[in-house]
């Protein structure tokens, strides 16, 4: 039994990977105001109904993120994790023009600050609404002096996973956490 437990532990998805994936999904929800609905309709288009049959399942899986208020450790399976990554990569592909606009605004903040500031404000709003604000990690995310770098990296990650093998790139990146 001990050996089986040790072997199975090696294949468990790390908390950091789930945290990062949920932050990416939250960024997509920030850009697309009807994000939850879009994610669900996209999962049907991608034939992920077996793994993600409804919106509640997506929500439950995202609750594996320990930073969430409604954190619930359900031990997310690899197939479920992969399905969420596929959703993220596909959604990023659809939203690339907006993602790029936000990145460009951050590159040239003096001349064109509106898209970046709007994204940042809404992202912070969603984080404070859904995440446990007493946690140190969340506090750091909400700290305006150091959260820019994290937010830029999240948007850049989305921008770099829109190719045909974007899902594989994103999976490789997330599993490195």
């Amino acid at each position: 039994m001990l050996t089986i437990t040790i072997l199975s532990k090696g294949k468990r998805i790390s908390r950091e990977s789930i945290q990062r994936l949920d932050l990416l999904l939250l960024a997509l929800e920030t850009i697309d105001l009807n994000g939850a609905e879009s994610l669900y309709s996209l999962s049907s288009k991608l034939n992920l109904n077996d793994v993600l049959p409804n919106k509640v399942t997506i929500w439950k899986l995202r609750n594996n993120n320990p930073m969430r208020n409604s954190f619930n450790n359900n031990n997310i399976k690899l197939s479920e994790f992969n399905a969420l990554i596929k959703l993220t990569a596909e959604m990023a592909k659809f939203l690339y023009p907006y993602i790029r606009q936000i990145l460009q605004s951050r590159d040239d903040l003096i001349r064109n600050p509106k898209p970046w500031n709007e994204f940042k404000n809404r992202y912070i709003e969603l984080i404070s609404e859904r995440f446990n604000t007493n946690s140190m990690k969340v506090k750091r995310l909400l700290d305006p002096s150091c959260n820019d770098e994290v937010f830029i990296k999240i948007i850049l990650t989305l921008a770099l996973c829109i190719s045909e093998d974007g899902f594989l790139n994103l999976r490789r990146t997330l599993l490195n956490y």
Binding site: T3, R100, L103, R106, D107, I152, D165, L175, N176
Partner: protein
């Protein structure tokens, strides 16, 4: 002979590939298998151009750099042809060194949006059916082998590990039982010897 020209566009970046199809392989006339020249055009920046080797070096540099950014590693890439380093979290500095003598290196600063556009242009090129001999996969597989065990394909060690572990555990348990059995046997022998000694001593006394 008239060369083919294929363009890959992504917002502010265009990648132009010039070359010829491989007629010896009966390839489609619109395809490009022999790349003679390429141009990377970025709005408001000088045009970057070169031959196939230069293109491969630049693609390798951009992919390596992007992977190290995504993996939260120190993103810096140095080679004979190109250096890329971050100025801050939203600006990157490219230093392009010409292979021709007496040509000064070219310094270009690009933001994250342009960086993402360039990577996406290279991805389009890598997945294009019309341009052969360039595969983005060969540049992406350079790093990131930390979680190879989670790949869909089962490797041989993954296949062999469970039976080996089970055999080892059976061996471990069986040796433990043999040890206990041996101990019991030794004890019974000792008891028998003690009994004999006691009978001998009684005989002596009598």
């Amino acid at each position: 002979m008239l060369q083919n020209k294929i363009l890959f566009n992504q917002s502010s970046v265009s990648l132009e590939i010039n070359g010829l199809p491989d007629y010896s392989n009966n390839e489609n006339q619109d395809n490009i298998s022999i790349i003679s020249q390429w141009k990377l055009m970025i709005i408001d920046k000088p045009v970057i151009e070169g031959n196939l080797d230069h293109l491969k070096s630049i693609m390798k540099a951009f992919y390596s750099y992007s992977i190290s950014i995504l993996n939260d590693e120190n993103p810096s890439y140095n080679s004979k042809l190109i250096d890329i380093k971050p100025e801050n979290c939203y600006t990157h500095i490219l230093l392009l060194k010409s292979s021709k003598p007496k040509v000064k290196p070219l310094n270009i600063r690009i933001g994250n949006s342009i960086f993402a556009d360039i990577i996406n242009c290279f991805d389009q090129l890598g997945f294009s059916d019309k341009v052969k001999n360039i595969y983005s996969k060969e540049f992406k597989s350079l790093t990131n082998k930390k979680h190879s065990f989670l790949k869909d394909k089962k490797n041989i060690s993954e296949f062999l590990l469970p039976p080996v572990v089970s055999l080892f555990s059976i061996f471990l348990f069986s040796t433990a039982f043999i040890y206990i059995y041996d101990n019991n046997e030794n004890r019974s022998l000792l008891n028998y010897q003690n009994k004999l000694v006691s009978i001998q001593s009684i005989n002596k006394l009598l």
